[in-house]
Amino acid sequence: MITADKLIFEYPGLRALDDVSFKIASGSITALVGPNGAGKTTLLRCMAALDQPVSGAINIAGIDVLEQPRDCHRIIGYLSDFFGLYQRLTVRQCLHYVARAQGIFEADCAAAIEDVSRRLHIQDRLENSPAQLSRGLRQRVAIAQAIIHKPPVVLLDEPASGLDPEARHELAELFLDLQAQGMTLLVSSHILAELEAYCTDMLVLRQGRIVEQVAVKAPSLVKPFKLLLANPVENLLPLLQSLPGIKVLNSDNKQQAILQLDGGASQQHQVLKALIALDLTVCEFAPAASNLQDAYLQTIRHSS
């Protein structure tokens, strides 16, 4: 869906993006993470054809972004980190303007506004001016503007900043809803715990370079299992390795290990049975919870 190839962007005296290449699958929600100044906003602005890189190529849904920026604008929705709203219009007028400017016919505007305001829970604010709204509501209006034309690709720069926990939860639900409708989302954020709720992939950017691209929630992948024993066992690792159908991913001590199972629930049952048969004092055997923050910090530590 999205391909970036050897992207280089430079500010005077600073290479903000350095040979950035990646691919994003259709229908995914990718978290774009990295420390401040890593180049996240620059990357998103290049992808939205708002800034022009020195070299490289970006392709979104078959459109060469750098060659056909206006065609790209029709198929993307973009929420800037520092967005603005038309303060002298009502929310309805703002949405109507953006809908018309995105090529939606006058006759279809009302339905589009109704649909997007329902999704963003701003139906009762349509007659207010954005100046009268809280930061969270303004954020929702800005997101509504970005997706009113139902673009297949949505780029969001820090969409949850300034939102309260409830609004963040609603935002996560909205993103999952958009994903379910076939949209591909790229979300830049610092709040990793919140990204974990909905992201399927993670793109780590550091000093203008892609450090890692990982799938954080891929149903097709075999999930790791955590094994925890009540009592330590001296030869835990060889014991586990002797069992068929499992792979030991990590065994740091004599009481704990991370295993990877080949099959589904029946295989899980067989492994647990085998562990009990070995007289191991199993007190926990369950899928290991993946932690985006841990993965991110580990990646950042490895790269530095």
Partner: protein, 431 residues
Amino acid sequence: MNLNPEFERQLILECSQARLIGATIVLSAVFTLTYFLDDYRLGNITAQAALTLFMLITLLWGTRQSLDSIVEEYRDRTWDIQRLSALGPWQMAWGKLLGSTSMAWYCAGICLLVHALATDNPASLPLLFFYAIGTALLVQSAGLLLGLLAVQRGQLKTGSILILVLVGFIVFMPSLTDLTDTANYLPDNLQISSWYNLTVNAQTLHQISLLCALFWCVMGNYRLLAQDLGLRNLPWAWLGFTLFLVVYLGGFIPSSSYSFSLAAFAVCSVLTYVGVIVERHEPMRIKRLLDYYRQANWRRVGEELPLSALSFALSLPFAIFLSFQEQRYAWLDISLHAYPLAIALLVLRDCAIYLFFCFGKNPQRAFSLSLLSAALLYGILPGLFGAVGMTDISALFFPLWADSAFAALVFAALQCVLILRLLYQRWRKSV
């Protein structure tokens, strides 16, 4: 009805019911007063007041509105919404230009209507309306153009730009007073002008000139908006504008290959200065240009080529042609037969000085620093050395003072080499 969304938005902002009623009441009060002053009839005072109000409304208020229509987008951080929309540059240009000034035009329309009712010269009305509306559109379009140029340079305060417009307004005030003289617009008022070898009616020439100026102003807005929307364009419009000016202005001076070349050289040189001042100068743009050049990607080279470079390149053949002519300027008692090349090099030097400051730490001061440098190089330093009898040293700073054309060329070339070297070093540091 599928109206232009930008025009519709501006209409909503400008033409609220309260404003429409308020403006009508205020204008009604003004014209009631002039009606009383005219001895209870629509007479000369009403007609003059209506025309003066029309000019004030369209030229000052309208221009401010068109200027703000773009500057406010930047100030309120809403410009990205428009850049990401499906609106084309043409839709955006006319939507902003006519939408933002819609309220001003509503009031101006009332003024024109009152003038039409009060004038004692109804035969002059069609031409008067043509000039009044055409001039107002031209100035408002120039306001939008100035706004676009200002925001591209990060200038988001309209105060200084408005001062510029106000100064222009005051400078052109005498001509505008002529505009209010309705006798100028009578059909039998025949004045003759010559353009190349053609004898034409001056009014017709003025009308065509006004339409051409309006066309190029709107074209400038279109191209700047297209640039901001990310559309890639070769500099055909600039090239076309240069050729138009050469042909148009060339027609007003005595016709010969020398005078035509002189007009062309002057136009290209002036446009080189204009181009270098109005364009955004980012060191990275030069880097991109050089990268495309190395890749032999000529289309991209054309797109990234600064307009000033194009104008300068166009001026060179004319400078060379003029250098080999034996003609003398009629209004100067000095021979400049080989000086055009030196002048071209001075233009290059001045542009390089401006770019040198643009690539520095305070690019917003580049213009004022360049003016200061020009004052030093053209006036103070040559004057200083000239006053103590060291005319050769004076020519080193202002080569046109040199007695020999070759010496002028050498001095100008030396200055160019020096400043271009400094410019290159500064550019290398900044990328």
